[in-house]
Symmetry: C2
Subunit: 149 residues, 2 copies
DNA sequence: TAAATTTCGGATAGAAATGTCTGATATATG
DNA sequence: CATATATCAGACATTTCTATCCGAAATTTA
């Protein structure tokens, strides 16, 4: 099986988008997120803890507690979420798995893949939660997908 | 951890490139490939079997046996190897993990990611073993990387 | 201050991917 | 035809990722 992001990273991205679509000052709890997005609750807990540690989210314990964005949505790029969960190895590691692969010692697809990888990074780094929130507001389809009614 | 291709797929790509760099009519055995490329031998065996089943490679048992390309190198694209090992889900599955995601029901990054994915496919489908063999012939660095002396 | 709620942290369990082992099967060579 | 070589096939082991469980800590509310 080939995949771009780990399942945990997919959960993280979905959850951050869900949280970002809530009222900005409100803390959203795990129970709600896991039920709406159909993500196993304890695993989502671990995942959101990672995002808190990486200062993507802010948490609050106790009644009315939960999670909200740690920064304004235009300061959180998708890349920050991916970085917190999966790390950034995919930006530098060789797509063919050669351990010593660099521009000075390239694999047979080094330059081809490098160009594509740069585009992936550009997309992830430039796309912010604010951008996506705007799209969500403008699209009923997206609200449905994120279970926002 | 995020990765584009599974480790098994990386092994497969490396092995096919190694085989393609050998004399065309010769069968190359697993022992040689696994030692040169530092791939666990039994696992490489399973992997090459998959490539035989998908008609990327041809095998021969017994003395002087081993593996060689099943078709002329200009008829084998990198995509065929990836397809045989990892499959093609990455071309259609949602990068955010939403199960129902399509152009009619897109996720927040559907179009952005779709464009990138198309480029990845283009690269994999257009790059053939013959293309790479030529590069290898022209580059001492590549021969070193593939342990071809 | 007591009780209820919710995240946090560590230990454990299950599933999937990766890696290993053993014997069977086929082929070349003497 | 016997032997050595190499792939093939299935079972098994290990590692990594995903998922679960339980109790502790913090915060709100009554």
């Amino acid at each position: 099986m080939s995949l771009i992001f780990s399942r945990q990273c997919e959960y993280a991205l979905q959850a951050v988008l869900y949280i970002s679509a809530q009222e900005e000052s409100k803390f959203t709890n795990i129970i709600e997120i896991s039920e709406r997005l159909d993500i196993p609750m304890p695993f989502l807990g671990k995942t959101l803890q990672l995002l808190v540690q990486h200062k993507v989210l802010q948490s609050l314990k106790g009644p009315r507690g939960g999670f909200k964005l740690a920064k304004p949505p235009d300061e959180i790029a998708l890349f920050h979420v991916v970085d917190a969960i999966d790390g950034t190895d995919f930006l530098t590691s060789c797509v063919l798995g050669f351990s010593e692969c660099s521009s000075k010692n390239p694999c047979p697809v080094h330059s081809d893949w490098g160009a594509l990888r740069d585009r992936v990074y550009q997309m992830l780094a430039s796309k912010t939660i604010a951008d996506i929130s705007k799209e969500i507001t403008d699209s009923k389809q997206l609200r449905t997908k994120l279970r926002l009614l």
